[in-house]
Amino acid sequence: MTSPTEQIADAAVAAAVPFMPDLFGAAADGSVRLLGGRCSRCATYSFPRRSICSQCGPGPEVEAAKLDGHGRIYASTVVRVPSPVGLKPPYAYGYVDLDGVPLRVFGLFAKADAQGLQPGTPVRLVSEALYSNASGQALVAYKFTRREGEAA
């Protein structure tokens, strides 16, 4: 089994600094993947990947699970004030229920979707600039964007 960091294959994403480590990477075709976990005993999914299963407790291994991030918006909002972490308004975010996996994931929406995405909207992942850290490095984050060609 490869470690989450080894799974970051795409050169463009690997060269950028992720806003938090071990959360997302790229598949061979360059598309973004979330690095989640799946309990080897009860199959409960987690994102970020947990070290101990929330249902089983210590014991069973939580295996790495790459998630393609396709899903539909469960809830969303558009923020109209500057954020404490330095995002300029408007910016939008929400919770996405993933397709085929019982897991809800928080994410910012891509800049193109900063005016918001309604619940039910089908989405996919992209990697996009977030903000700069204290050392002035530009950080990138996974974000959700509208999946074209599908009805809400």
């Binding site: 806003f19 938090m20 959360l23 999914y45 987690s46 970020p48 929330s54 469960y74 809830a75 969303s76 909002t77 558009v78 923020v79 109209r80 004030v81 500057p82 954020s83 404490p84 972490v85 995002l87 910016y91 975010y93 929400g94 919770y95 229920d97 019982p102 897991l103 809800r104 928080f106 994410g107 910012l108 918001g116 619940p119 977030l130 984050a141």
Partner: protein
């Protein structure tokens, strides 16, 4: 478990106290509560202090000991509690445990915070959370909660705004309240948008203030000859943090309420008034449902009917709530107890709920995995 009584309460005004320290505010509330109880510092066997932000904003730790020393109290066990917005109500729960268990006969419980931020500076907490690192703010999370409630139950923006209008009307009647200016539905809706659909006047302020309560055994209560206000229920729990939980309700609140009603041998129909955690207007609507004041989904219709106004079927937040009375984070849970004690003693001049006999206090503190880290419910009964 022994019966526990509220022997006395005290509070500072809530609002901006820029020139006062945590110690000064805390000492005022404690002094008032002791005087109200008719006790001296030496009569108190333990202290419990709720303070959520002192370590971060004032770079102050051990706030409980500092405050009690200001009023000349030392040589006793003192516990500092941080449970976010539920810090004060958790301190109350611990104080209740201390007396109910028989360990102590009289304890002081208090909460204090100075949360007023320089203009335009948002409160920054939760640096390790994925959501916070990605720009999530409290109004944003509650905006999503409002969105789901509106979607599921047809709750309207006007119904949400009416919560703020009612609580500001009540705040106008409360000398302890930060805001004493009435608002209209139109003003709430037209105030600056923070996170759709949450506007500025749909949010409570971050305030400065302190509140305190003296808890005692039945024997001490009888010796003092005070009006017997009994803590009939005291509950604390975390959420279940279920990943795909239903945003339109808080399971932990319903579970805590069920346990509290069972402890008290009472139901929602027995309540004279409720003080609850209206950090945002949508919270009050959902708490109506979670506490059983109306059927699930009917919160919007309950405010429409005027049932929760002073003089209504079940007055909620006669103090003005967090929205108008203010929210000095760690003090709010104890402030609710002071308000309920005044109401049950018939001393809430100007905002008195008629024939108040049973009051319920509810607080929720901190978010985790879209759920809450701490939910407190207390039921007080005038005997």
């Amino acid at each position: 478990m022994r019966s526990v009584y509220v022997a006395g309460v005290g509070s500072t005004t809530f609002g901006k106290h820029l020139d006062r320290s945590l110690r000064s505010l805390g000492a005022e509330a404690v002094t008032r509560a002791l005087a109200d109880a008719g006790l001296k510092g030496k009569d108190i066997q333990a202290g419990y202090c709720g303070n959520a932000l002192g370590a971060m904003l004032q770079e102050e730790t051990g706030v409980g000991q500092h405050v009690l020393w200001e009023v000349g109290m030392s040589g006793l066990p003192v516990v500092n509690v941080e449970n976010a917005c539920a810090s004060g109500s958790t301190a109350l729960h611990l104080g209740w445990q201390g007396v109910a268990s028989g360990l102590y006969d009289a304890v002081i419980v208090f909460g204090v915070d100075k949360a007023v931020m320089p203009k335009g500076t948002p409160l920054k907490v939760g640096a390790a959370d994925l959501e916070v690192r990605l720009g999530d703010i409290f109004p944003g999370y509650f905006a999503m909660v409002a969105q789901k409630h509106m979607e599921a139950h047809g709750t309207t923006l006007e119904q949400l705004a009416k919560v703020s209008v009612k609580n500001h009307d009540n705040g106008c009647l409360n000398p302890y309240a930060e805001f004493k200016k009435p608002l209209t539905v139109e003003e709430v809706l037209a105030s600056p948008m923070i996170a759709q659909p949450i506007t500025l006047f749909s949010c409570c302020p971050n305030s400065d203030g302190a509140a305190a309560a003296v808890l005692c055994s039945e024997a001490v209560m009888r010796r003092l000859g005070s009006r017997p206000i009994r803590i009939a229920a005291s509950v604390l729990s975390t959420g279940l943090y279920e990943n795909q939980r239903d945003f339109t309700r808080w399971e932990v609140e319903e579970r805590a309420a069920k346990l509290a009603y069972s402890q008290a041998g009472l139901g929602p129909e027995d309540l004279s008034l409720v003080e609850l955690h209206d950090a945002f207007t949508i919270c009050e609507i959902i708490h109506y449902e979670g506490l059983g004041l109306c059927p699930p989904g009917d919160g919007g219709r309950l405010i429409d009917a005027g049932a929760t106004a002073i003089g209504g079927r079940i007055p909620v937040n006669p103090s003005g709530g967090l929205l108008a009375k203010g929210h000095p984070i760690g003090a709010s849970g104890v402030g609710q107890i002071a308000e309920i004690a005044w109401q049950l003693r018939g001393e809430a001049t100007g905002r008195q709920v008629k024939n108040a006999r049973v009051g319920l206090a509810q607080m929720m503190g901190g978010s985790k995995e879209t759920d809450t880290r701490a939910c407190n419910i207390h039921i007080l009964v005038a005997e």
